[in-house]
């Protein structure tokens, strides 16, 4: 085979899978080569310990890249950390990376950040790769047309030892989205809507291929938000076929191919996209124009509604979803049938691997600019990486946020999960641009989370309650972020 020669027909998933197949394993699974392995301080220490116990080395240290994100404080990142356990985890990662010759993008390197933010921005994530990381939101990297999935610690050990994994092949569902999203509606709303419709288990056993005019119009950062949450819909990976938007994003990034290799890379990447003859195991369709800003009201990401809707009553809920709905009413302290708009919030968090990129901060800043956080609300912005922070500061976004009463923090996972000092207290309720609203997720066993887009979080901070960001955007005459014009929907 020559690069640039189209691969056999089929979906991108099929082509990438075939190319990375190493062997068939006795248990019926496939040994799959892993092109890019990303590690962080939480799920890697036990894997390195197991390697040492087994007397094994790292087979391809140049294909593993490390950063630190989950446990870092976002106020002061001075070492040693105030929390001795966090300090021990980072010191362990540093030692493991140095022992095995693995690149670590540490604090202050200019490249540190949330693992799913830094790999794309460094150009590490590329079309046609298999990407694995001990973190479920590895599906993010599928935005580039990579097959990317989260793994457990024993699998981190396997990838370190063998650069491969035992995997079962998934089915592929095409999620086709027609139309154009309204002003004030973002990729976060789109994916919350998809999960609400297909269910948090709807994607189990599937990879989601996101396609259609509305997907083609998304920026790379929006595609990352979309693929990031594929896992919340049960799909272990989600991807978008690589196209001109993908290539334009990658060109010139530090780890992307350059010179003559660039042309060959683009030719090969282009050949990977699902062809017109591709056969899908299933297909579902959505109309982007019909989607409103979406907010979760319950305790799974599937319990979402448009901001103009009411918390569903038991009668409006599918019978098998009712026990969960009842648990959610109780935990969230919400009344079935009550509108979600107007619900007071306590904490507003903008950040995470779902929505901690530059365009997310721009969208939130457009809402915050010239306004002020409501009294009594704690609002803070956590850039996804040092590069995002630098770019945002270069445009003065940090000033916009500070002037509006938001705190501007150092990069990390922050209040997406409770492994660092940022957390909810008691029954506090947060408007959060992160990806999980599970009970206790944000650090208080009784804390409550409403997931929404960064612009919606900013709107909640300004008004002190859940609000439709479209009204604020209209008032400011602001528009949605740069998005390519959508060609007329076919059919």
């Amino acid at each position: 085979m020559e690069t640039g020669t189209p691969l056999s027909a089929g979906t991108l998933y099929d082509k990438v899978w075939t190319l990375h197949q190493v062997a068939e394993l006795p248990g019926g699974s496939t040994q799959l080569f892993i092109g890019l392995h990303l590690i962080h301080e939480v799920t890697s220490p036990q894997a390195f310990a197991a390697l040492r116990d087994l007397g094994l080395g790292v087979r391809h240290p140049e294909r593993t890249v490390a950063t630190v994100d989950h446990i870092v404080p976002t106020t002061s990142q001075a070492r040693p950390f105030a929390d001795p356990l966090a300090e021990e985890m980072l010191a362990t990662l540093e030692r493991n990376c140095s022992d095995y010759g693995i690149t670590l993008h540490g604090l202050g390197s200019g490249r540190q950040g949330i693992v799913h933010v830094i790999a794309p921005e460094l150009g590490l994530t590329q079309p046609g790769m298999t990407v694995a990381c001990g973190d479920s939101h590895t599906s993010t990297h599928g935005a580039f047309g990579a097959i990317a999935f989260g793994i457990g610690t024993s699998q981190v050990r396997d990838v370190l030892a063998s650069q491969s994994l035992a995997m079962g092949k998934l089915k592929v569902r095409r999620v086709w989205v027609d139309g154009a999203m309204q002003n004030g509606v973002y990729a976060k709303d789109l994916v919350l809507h998809i999960i609400r419709s297909l269910g948090v288990k709807g994607g189990v056993g599937y990879a989601y291929e996101f396609a259609g005019p509305a997907i083609a119009a998304l920026s790379m950062e929006e595609r990352m938000t979309l693929c990031n949450m594929a896992i919340e819909g049960g799909a272990r990976c989600g991807y978008v076929n690589p196209d001109a938007t993908t290539f334009a994003y990658l060109q010139g990034r530090p780890c992307a191919p350059s010179g003559e290799a660039w042309e060959r890379a683009v030719a090969w990447w282009s050949s990977l996209a699902s062809g017109p003859d591709a056969v899908f195991d299933d297909e579902v369709r959505f109309d982007a124009a019909a989607i409103a800003p979406t907010v979760t009201w319950g305790i799974t990401p599937g319990q979402g509604i448009g901001v103009d809707e009411a918390v569903p009553t038991l009668e409006q809920t599918e019978p098998d979803e009712r026990p969960l709905a009842q648990e959610a009413y109780r935990y969230m302290d919400l009344t079935p049938g009550a509108p979600i708009a107007g619900l007071p919030v306590d904490v507003c968090f903008i950040g995470s691997c779902t929505n901690g990129r530059l365009s997310d901060l721009q969208a939130a800043a457009a809402v915050a600019k010239g306004r002020h956080v409501a009294p009594g609300i704690k609002a803070f912005v956590v850039p996804g990486s040092e590069q995002v922070a630098a770019a945002a500061e270069a445009e003065g976004l940090d000033r916009v946020f500070r002037e509006a009463g938001f705190e501007w923090r150092e990069p990390g996972c922050s209040m997406c999960l409770a492994m660092n000092p940022d957390r909810l207290e008691g029954r506090q309720i947060s408007a959060s641009s992160s990806n999980r609203n599970f009970k206790g997720r944000q650090g208080s066993a009784s804390g409550r989370t409403l997931l929404m887009s960064p612009a919606m979080v900013a709107a909640a901070a300004i008004s002190g309650r859940v609000s439709d960001v479209r009204t604020l955007l209209d008032a400011a005459g602001a528009t949605a972020p740069d998005r390519a014009p959508v060609p007329a929907a076919a059919g």
Partner: protein, 219 residues
């Protein structure tokens, strides 16, 4: 309290015997199995004590994992979509270190299922009705001895000698487990690392044909 003596899974796994514990509810995610604050560790030791920590605190001693009669249980019986959410292996690790050696449920989240398999812990499926029946039977007779057979794919419950139900013949339910994982467990080949390393030549051949590992030069 944790099961003190059961050794971690090793070698071929044909059956799991012991007593069972039922944890009811759909969509029990890994944050509930092991809350995130316990993830700050560089070893898995000690995670067993923290299994379901927040649920147990909330129920103040009434959680099945706190019931004295369930201490030492090896089989966990759950409902739908167990183990959803974060991919953290801390969740199966904490269940394993608490003493669980097999999980029976209506359905499992994929990553959780794979993480359990990698530890030698089978996740077996049952119908909704059978899950409820099994959970009711365990609750009625917590000391009943449970046998999970991977060869015949059945779980049977035999009344404890001192239970009121003594003399009853014991009940049994069919289980589902995909053939691949089943054979891996039965043959002891669930330890993936050594199998992966056995294919050195094929690993090299695969690396050579991946364009992004060869600067996109023709191969």
């Amino acid at each position: 309290m944790t099961s003190p003596s059961a050794p971690f899974p090793f070698g071929a796994i044909a059956s799991v015997v012991g007593t069972a514990v039922a944890v009811r509810g759909d969509d029990i995610d890994t944050d509930r199995i092991i809350p995130a604050r316990f993830l700050k560790c560089v070893t898995f030791d000690g995670l067993g004590e923290q299994a379901f920590a927040d649920d147990r605190a909330e129920l103040n001693g009434a959680h099945p994992f706190d019931h004295p009669e369930h201490q030492g249980a090896t089989v966990l019986v759950v409902n739908r979509n167990f183990g959803c959410g974060s991919s953290r292996e801390h969740a199966p690790q904490s269940l394993m270190r608490w003493g669980i050696r097999a999980v029976i449920g209506e359905s499992f989240a994929e990553i959780f299922y794979g993480n359990c398999l990698a530890l030698g812990i089978p996740c077996l499926s049952v119908s909704h009705a059978d899950a409820l029946a099994l959970q009711a039977a365990i609750q009625a007779d917590p000391a009943a001895s449970v046998v999970v057979e991977l060869e015949t794919l059945r779980v049977s419950l035999n009344a404890a000698a001192d239970s009121a139900a003594v003399g009853s013949a014991g009940a049994s339910w069919p289980l589902t487990l995909a053939d691949g994982p089943r054979r891996m467990l039965l043959s002891g080949q669930w330890d993936a690392t050594s199998q992966l390393l056995a294919h050195d030549g094929q690993l090299r051949a695969t690396a050579v044909r991946l364009p992004y590992l060869t600067a996109f030069s023709a191969v």
